[in-house]
Symmetry: C2
Subunit: 149 residues, 2 copies
DNA sequence: TCCGAATAGATGTATATGCATCTATTCCAG
DNA sequence: CTGGAATAGATGCATATACATCTATTCGGA
């Protein structure tokens, strides 16, 4: 009998959520020596790519509600991994990696890379790349429609 | 300028999580007249497909930790939408839809279908089906490896 | 038979996520 | 310039999710 296989789900959303849960568990396990979750690592990685950025724009990039970021960034801020400045528009909060945040991120990268490499190998390089592109295209399509008047 | 487009992310996991967030927001909005979240709808839909099932098996099907189900099922149980029996193995909880749960599920199906249809149209039927199959294959591959000794 | 190992969930805690609502600031029509 | 509309976040609350740990039950070998 072995492992009962998992059935396809009729719901596109449930299919995505299930995949996200399953994959997240692997990345979280890989990152656990650093104390980072995959959500937190993703924030550091995004900041390392964008440089200083407003909270709202960061939310757009990650398709994450700005008020969600208020909470998750707060956890990261308590660790001293980010800096926050008031923007020229004084309603804005401009976020950037602190030196400690850069160091923490760099410590975590090899563990993240390991998880990513293992997952890509499991799925197959070709299929993995293809999948990632498709998911990104889908995300772009939804996000673009979202931002219409 | 319009809407700043969202960049590709280097992390496979972050790509999945972002897609799941974005899609979930649409389904949650569509289901809101019923008071169901997409997570809760997915549970009702899964139960409607499996019939009576143990909590553990339900967790396998949805790639959801069994203790997570303790919490989420509890919310649903408060509404009277599920029934729980102790199994022949008395450690097990066997879950099934109550009549009220069936009714609630059936009320929600058209709204879910609407969201699903709109999303599939946005992505394109062909691409949508392709994407869903790829994600399911990937999920299966990960879940199968997971369940090795 | 009996006892330790394994399994199914329950409980407590921490993070993740979004909405409704609120405040502070900016923008814009008049 | 001014006052109302719009915008950027903050706050409080509810749900989503998983892990560590605990209890109850079952299983398997001596």
């Amino acid at each position: 009998m072995g492992h009962p296989s998992i059935p396809a789900l009729p719901c596109l959303c449930a299919t995505f959520r299930r995949a996200a849960r399953l994959v997240s568990q692997r990345y979280d396990a890989a990152l656990s020596p650093t104390g980072l979750t995959i959500t937190q690592f993703t924030l550091l990685q995004a900041l390392s790519l964008t440089g200083e950025v407003s909270q709202g724009r960061l939310g757009e990039i990650l398709a994450m509600d700005s008020t969600t970021l208020t909470h998750t960034l707060d956890i990261i801020r308590r660790h001293g991994w980010i800096e926050r400045r008031v923007g020229a528009d004084r309603r804005q909060r401009r976020i950037s990696l602190s030196p400690a945040g850069k160091a923490q991120f760099e410590r975590a990268v090899p563990l993240w890379q390991q998880a990513q490499t293992e997952l890509r190998a499991l799925l197959g390089e070709q299929r993995s790349t293809n999948l990632m592109n498709l998911v990104h295209q889908a995300t772009s399509a939804v996000a673009e429609q979202e931002s219409l008047p």
